[in-house]
Assembly symmetry: C2
Homo-oligomer: 309 residues x 2
């Protein structure tokens, strides 16, 4: 058995996970990151302690929402949990004599889906997590590909529109400014400003700040033309980025994660069609595109599999 | 010793190459692809025969300018040499009882630079070959990364300008429409149409169809403002694409090949500076960017190293 830890901005979720990725026991606590890393780590140690009771484990894996220096076991920068240069592996090893593995949460999710999720039967996979931004995780032969400095997979910061929308990374026109859920919502609000009558205005009782991605999909499914055209534009950009990634990397499968993936075939089918029209190698076997299956468990499960390398 | 073959549109270049990548003997013939693949293969067999005289070899490697089905030893499609579904490995094995390895020329060049060229001391490298288009070759731990269908590395067909310039691949705004040598020349001609006086017009005796990449760099080095601004714009786009590739893939080094790489530091230094301003991970170790060193030998040398996998 392995312990998997999803150290997130809201909760610390931990679980006892088999080699095959099945969670047999869970323990969680709110993170309350404002307390500082020392207090958070105390809670983390307590949770591990609880999971260890009468269980023999082989490893502890931790996923964090930020950058890590893996070979030194350090959380370099993770603003959502308020960790800056924290020697997390060292802290855990002070109390527990198990191998501890650390990685960022996007890589953990990708590994989880690759080992025991949607990409289980594929050698090379790319996980694309859609949310406020777009995260990526590259898995080659069931191992995370991290690049020489551990920072590979920042696919959200691939420019697809030179001199396009400003991105927090300092560039203009990044993929995530067009294909994240936030981008979809932002575009909806922008266009609604000049539109008095609309289904989305009705849905939010005229408070368009309440619009979220799910509402737009729901309105589209009910035939709302405005939402349908928003989603059509959204999947155009989404497909542009995915076709780029396929041309560069040719993974056997792309797994789409994040809340938007719950739209399932309603999102995936048109997206797949657009991508396959755009890819360079039209006569060769095609990259499969599917929705993630592990949902919010992907963090725990993925972290528990970090011992694989 | 290994035999390396660069089966190009103009010449068939072959060489006897050591395990370390040193060419000890060469044989070449013009390809004359219009004769059809059977005749070209006859010449190829003759060249190998000549290299074999009194030499014991371990393998034969062949690079071709097109797509291959590697595990079947088939050249799938290579229009420059007029090969369509040619069972090249089978043809060579009919006459020679050595292991024969086949790959496309961009991958061979990348492997050559990785094994005994500019990326010799690096584990992960990306070779970017600039010419009419932009070719790519990804090398991870001294092995070519090919993707599940053998078609990875088509970095020239990464869209960096959604709805931008038309590309032959069917998309709009591909990297190679902005950062290939052809793109630089195309932009020069386009702008010169509305400009009667110019240094480049003088250089070509007012025949702007004669303009090539080298001339533009030469004019810029002599202080021609028009050429300087062309190159400034060119390296902006070039850097945009390279920063994307670094964010996705984080290779330890990027090797720039093709004729433009002969500009050396005059091209590389400003390019590097722009790239490093754009990459996402500004505090982590940076990807090195250098010019290729094997020049036109990279095809033979790279092909001779295909036995490495």
């Amino acid at each position: 058995m392995h312990i998997g830890i999803d150290l997130g901005g809201t909760n610390i979720d931990t679980g006892l996970v088999s080699e095959e990725g099945v969670i047999s026991s869970r323990k969680s606590m709110p993170t309350r990151a404002e307390r500082g890393s020392a207090e958070v780590i105390k809670d983390l140690l307590r949770l591990i302690e609880m999971l260890l009771e009468s269980n023999s484990i082989q490893s502890i894996g931790v996923g964090v929402p930020g950058t890590v220096i893996r070979d030194q076991g350090i959380v370099n920068f993770a603003c959502n949990i308020n960790f800056h240069n924290v020697r997390l592996v060292h802290e855990l090893n002070q109390q527990f004599d198990y191998p501890v593995y650390l990685d960022n949460d996007a890589n953990c999710a990708a590994l989880g889906e690759a080992v025991c999720g949607a990409a289980e039967n594929y050698d090379t996979s790319l996980m694309v997590t859609i949310g406020t931004g777009i995260g990526g995780g590259i898995v080659i032969n069931k191992r995370i590909y991290r690049g020489f400095n551990g920072a590979a997979g920042e696919i959200g910061h691939m420019v697809i529109e030179t001199n396009g929308l400003d991105c927090a990374c300092g560039r203009k026109g990044c993929f995530e400014k067009y294909a994240s859920t936030s981008a979809l919502v932002w575009e909806a609000k922008r266009k609604l400003k000049n539109q008095a009558d609309s289904f989305l205005r009705e849905m939010t009782s005229d408070n368009i700040d309440k619009i979220n991605g799910e509402m737009i999909f729901s309105a589209a499914k009910q035939g709302d033309k405005f939402s349908l055209s928003l989603i059509d534009r959204y999947t155009d950009y989404f497909a542009e980025g995915l076709a780029n990634l396929i041309n560069i990397f040719e993974p056997e499968i792309i797994v789409i994660g994040g809340a938007v993936s719950r739209q399932g075939e309603y999102l995936i089918n048109p997206l797949k069609e657009k991508v396959h029209q755009k890819v360079y190698s039209k006569t060769l076997p095609k990259t499969n595109i599917v929705a993630a299956v592990l949902g919010s468990d992907s963090g725990i499960i993925g972290a528990s599999q970090l011992w694989r390398g």
